[in-house]
């Protein structure tokens, strides 16, 4: 996915050990885009970024359930896995929304930094610090293991659902943004995500 590509200047071998990144993000590709109103013959378009292809103006839907392989407890970058599953369909949308819904209550989906794995490790550290686990924890729900109730809480903190804009056939995320799956259970299990694409 192009948004995750780094230029050689920002991630050269010289800097790989200290993992710096530029203080400001490069300019975003997207411009205002107002799309054809199908059936009306008029063009809702407040600037010059028109859509000349009438085929692209037909609303369409695509939905797919993806199974992600088991991942260890912690935060994981899954942008590539998600995009790989939907790339062909994504490319046909000029403008739209991609909706991800995790079918579980002990893991979560979030958008965060896509470059330094330390950010994912530190986020896991935070979650474990903020949600008590083990004998000192005040939970009533303990039958499924000491990590289960904390996992439910973390799932609601970060959420199980994401909606990402689609622009010109791609997920329109910021340069440093990626999709994370946060696995909150100790025992890795496959996780299912329902992906719904909607747009023109």
């Amino acid at each position: 996915m192009q948004l995750q590509l780094r230029s050689s200047s920002s991630a050269s071998a010289l800097f790989s050990a200290v993992k710096v990144k530029p203080p400001s993000s490069p300019p975003v590709r997207v411009k205002a885009l107002f799309t054809k109103n199908p059936g009306s013959g008029t063009l809702k378009n407040s600037n010059s970024n028109t859509n000349p292809n009438p085929m692209a103006s037909n609303p369409r839907w695509a939905q797919k359930t993806v199974t992600l392989p088991p991942l260890r407890r912690g935060c994981h970058l899954i942008t590539h896995k998600i995009v790989k599953e939907i790339a062909q369909d994504l490319s046909e949308f000029k403008c739209g929304l991609a909706h991800l819904f995790l079918l579980h209550t002990s893991a979560s989906l979030t958008i965060n930094e896509n470059y330094d794995s330390d950010v994912r490790d530190d986020t896991e550290t935070f979650l474990n610090k903020i949600v008590p686990e083990g004998r000192s924890a005040p939970w009533k729900h303990t039958l499924e293991g000491p990590d289960d109730m904390p996992a439910h809480i973390k799932s609601s903190m970060f959420g199980c659902t994401l909606t990402i804009p689609i622009t010109d056939g791609q997920l329109n995320m910021g340069t440093w943004q990626g999709i994370w799956l946060c696995e909150h259970r100790d025992a890795p299990t496959p996780r299912k995500v329902v992906i719904t694409l909607n747009g023109i």
Copy 2:
């Protein structure tokens, strides 16, 4: 709603006291589904799950504001109440999204465990532990009561909006997932939710 039904083996009278649930979720019903592109005559369909009904391919919208009765402070399972309000319209969507938007800033909507009420109680325990309340709390905003500022914070932690996929006329959630309304105020009040359905 079917996804919340339990087989007698997983929730028999014998186990009702200890509230066990199976360690792994049963397989999810949903398969990849790529829907007709209205007006183009072509079928966007990467597998065999076609939609033979051309009527179902017309994009449609439905929107409704539902008022939930007052609930005591804490986390509440409201899946049935929500589905009951939209069931008839939901059944006409082959593929789509259901969007819920809570019109308040001192309560929240989240997706979490639908079976053991202890999970909801423990989540309320967590929220109260993490957000200080009363004389020791550092809040400036106290005129509406000691529970008001904590309620606002909890509302942003869990959020006031959810989007859930629709598949074959039903909310497509995981076996153990349910919709929770978390009431963060001491004084129960009716809560309004705008429900928007969109799909084919």
Copy 3:
């Protein structure tokens, strides 16, 4: 935006010092609305709130990237700025959804109280209390400054994406709800938001 207007009785000069607000929200304008199914000739409409304008039944999409000016660290009400950018297009949607996506990983978008700035200050106080920063913090990711890793965590806690219903040409939010941009970095920078409107 009308939802943020206050009547003189609730925010008169007499009360401006103590910032009271009415204990209960006024009734919400929205009624159930079921919209025309384009192309089918049938009307999905469970009550009397029909849409007499056939033009409004054509699904349409609009997408725009908005750049917000730099804001100091803390929580900021941005409803007016967002609505100003999309007002003209918004007015053409009878029913739909407005999706906001922040293209950054060290700030967040949330819905919360739109009236008392103390609520925003207290929320910032909470975030700083809950996420350790500085020498005592356990983070590995520190190269971009002591406020960077806390900013990433806060971004996932509140999220970078919102979906808000559109009803009768306006964002359909509760009386006290507003859109907040929470800036989690010390150094203010412009922030980009992709806004996608979809509806009829």
